[in-house]
């Protein structure tokens, strides 16, 4: 097969580019420690996640020193907690979100950050992040979920540790 020498060079350059891209992603996973949301959150009943043993009543639970679990139920068109009352966690904490839908497919995107996941009926999206700064985050459903999809928003409030009210934490 006749291939021009420029084409051979470009072929090599292209393969290098591809290898470089894959290497970057691997670095992100291993070096920078970015984990993918996967099947570790388990499965729940699609219409009633809280009834499943893998899930709990929606709320914030303390699991250790500076470690919290947040169970969020998404439904047309709100997050519980999140939409009515904000999700409130202390600054400097490591928080694991467990998010499940009780009706249709939703999204859970903390706007302007890397915390972003699909919420698919029957599956639990489980993600851990560290909240270093005390500030408030806007949460948007970013998968179309029905007529008022655009109203499905919420808030995460990261409060200074001394202002965090321990009584808001649900007991396991």
């Amino acid at each position: 097969m006749e291939i021009h020498r420029f084409e051979k060079l470009w072929l090599v350059a292209s393969l290098l580019l591809i290898a470089g891209f894959v290497a970057t992603i691997v670095y992100g996973a291993v070096g920078a420690g970015v984990a993918m949301v996967d099947n570790s959150g388990g499965q729940v009943a699609a219409s009633d996640p809280t009834a499943s043993s893998d899930f709990r009543d929606p709320g914030v639970y303390q699991t250790g020193d500076g470690e919290y679990d947040v169970y969020v139920v998404a439904r047309q068109f709100s997050f519980t907690p999140g939409s009515g009352t904000p999700i409130r966690v202390p600054e400097g904490s490591e928080v694991t979100f467990h998010i499940a839908s009780r009706d249709v497919t939703h999204g859970f995107n903390v706007v302007g950050t890397n915390l972003n996941t699909m919420v698919i009926p029957g599956q639990v999206a489980q993600l851990t992040v560290e909240f270093d700064d005390a500030r408030s985050y806007h949460v948007a459903c970013n998968e179309y979920c029905g007529a008022a999809h655009h109203d499905m928003t919420g808030t995460i409030e990261v409060v200074p540790a001394e202002d965090f009210d321990e009584s808001e934490v649900a007991e396991a």
Binding site: H4, F6, L9, W10, A13, L17, G20, F21, T24, G28, A32, G33, V34, A35, M36, V37, S47, D57, P58, G59, V60, R75, Q76, F77, S78, T80, P81, G82, S83, G84, T85, R88, T96, R102, D103, V110, G112, T113, N114, L115, Q126, L127, T128, V129, E130, F131, D133, G146, A147, A148, D151, M152, S167, E168, V169, A170, E171
Partner: protein, 417 residues
């Protein structure tokens, strides 16, 4: 408390906001004991000026169920862009009436927005699913506003007016048809209903024409909305073929049977309607085109001049109408345009399309382009291409590094587990 945060999330949004409106609501409630509150806007509760979206299934009519002991409100009925409606959205009842809320779809609750000062209705805050129901008895006069917390944003709101039947108006029957004349009810919208209820009270005999012109053919009851006095004999006269009269709903203790066999021109039958209330009926073969009608038995409430407009009857949105009209206009323009484009063009093609069995020259194409200088494979090295793809390569690498290490890894909240 086991899960304080969880409970709090079910708290009533907007309850404080509405406190200021309570006095006005109470005043409205007493106004409702009069007669003119057939239509009310509840201080904008059903619009998006209030918390949440516009309540599409509220058509401006308060369904009058005064005098009944038990009234049902459907939770999660069709409306507001899904199964997000209380049906009826607004209802007027007498003091002491028990209202039963029945869930027909999932994930709804009944959260109280406002109520009369000394009332203590709690609604039902927990989210429930299809099949659930609860009842409340309303004693205190006034207006109760409530909503569904998960679906407030699409306008899932309701209101209950508790009012005394008022004095001499006690036996008045408002002309309230719900969505019967709209396409939200079974069948199409009723084109020949213009929002007017023809008042024939005081007459002993009244005629309704079956199969009159309307609804895209001879598919109308005329008049579609009629008010008569109790005891009036209504005669139905067929003026076109294949219609019947099927009763959709009638007052609880009435027993009108309509006339279900399908009849043709010349047929007629009569019915004497004694029980006060609203009778809705339709023609089964032509329901889908909107052959529907209603009769109100009883005097009109004062100032309720024969019944106000009951819901909108727009079968098409303005957008679709415009597009459709545009398409028709464009299609009609085509011959005109063709005339324009063909004005200077000879009818017979210039080319020779040959004789039977032998191909002709056919349409003439432009001549094949001749290169200024012929360049063969061996004498051509794509230097410019090499330069361009090299630049492209560098842009890709630079953009990738920027996107990955600045925009992504430099962003807030890294998912670590």
């Amino acid at each position: 408390m086991r899960d304080a945060i969880a409970d709090e999330t079910y708290s009533r949004r907007g309850v404080l906001r509405a406190t200021a409106g309570t006095a006005a609501a109470a005043a409205l409630g007493s106004a409702a004991t009069g007669s003119a509150a057939g239509q009310t806007d509840f201080d904008g509760w059903f619009t998006d000026d209030a918390p949440g979206g516009t309540t599409d299934n509220y058509d401006g009519e308060v369904v009058d169920r005064t005098g009944e002991d038990e009234v049902t409100v459907t939770v999660g009925a069709d409306g507001n862009g899904g199964t997000f409606a209380f049906e009826p959205a607004a209802v007027r009842i007498s003091p002491g009436t028990t209202v039963t809320f029945e869930w027909v779809s999932d994930t709804h609750n009944v959260a109280v927005e406002s109520q009369p000062d000394d009332a203590g209705w709690e609604g039902h805050d927990p989210i429930e699913n299809s099949g659930f129901s609860f009842s409340s008895t309303f004693e205190t006069l006034g207006v109760y506003k409530y909503y569904c917390d998960p679906h407030l944003s699409v306008g899932m709101k309701g209101a209950i007016v508790v009012a005394e039947g008022g004095g001499e108006q006690e036996d008045a029957v408002p002309a309230e048809y719900g969505d019967w004349f709209t396409d939200d009810a079974p069948g199409g919208a009723v084109d020949n209903y213009d929002g007017e209820t023809v008042d024939r009270t005081g007459e002993d005999e009244v005629t309704v024409t079956v199969g009159a012109d309307g609804n895209g053919g001879t598919f109308a009851f005329d008049p579609p909305a009629l008010r008569v006095s109790p005891g009036t004999t209504v005669t139905f006269e067929w003026v076109s073929d294949t219609h019947n009269v099927v009763v959709e709903s009638q007052p609880e203790d009435a027993a009108w049977e309509g006339h279900e066999p399908i009849e043709n021109t010349g047929f007629s039958f009569s019915a004497t309607l004694d029980t006060r209330g609203v009778y809705k009926y339709y023609c089964e073969p032509h329901l889908s085109v909107g052959m529907k009608a209603a009769i109100v038995v009883g005097p009109a409430p004062a100032e309720d001049g024969g019944g106000g407009p009951a819901g909108t009857t727009t079968p098409f949105s303005p957008l679709l109408g415009t597009v459709f009209a545009g398409a028709v206009a464009a299609a009609m323009l085509l011959p005109v345009l063709a005339g324009y484009y063909r004005r200077d063009q000879p009818e017979t093609p210039e080319y020779d399309d040959g004789v039977e069995g032998e191909p002709g020259a056919g349409t003439q194409e432009a001549p094949v382009e001749e290169p200024v200088e012929e360049l063969d494979h061996d004498e051509y090295d794509p230097m410019g291409t090499a330069a361009l793809v090299a630049v492209y390569f560098l842009i890709l690498v630079a953009m990738w590094v920027f996107m990955y290490f600045v925009e992504f890894l430099g962003n807030e909240l890294t998912v670590i587990g």
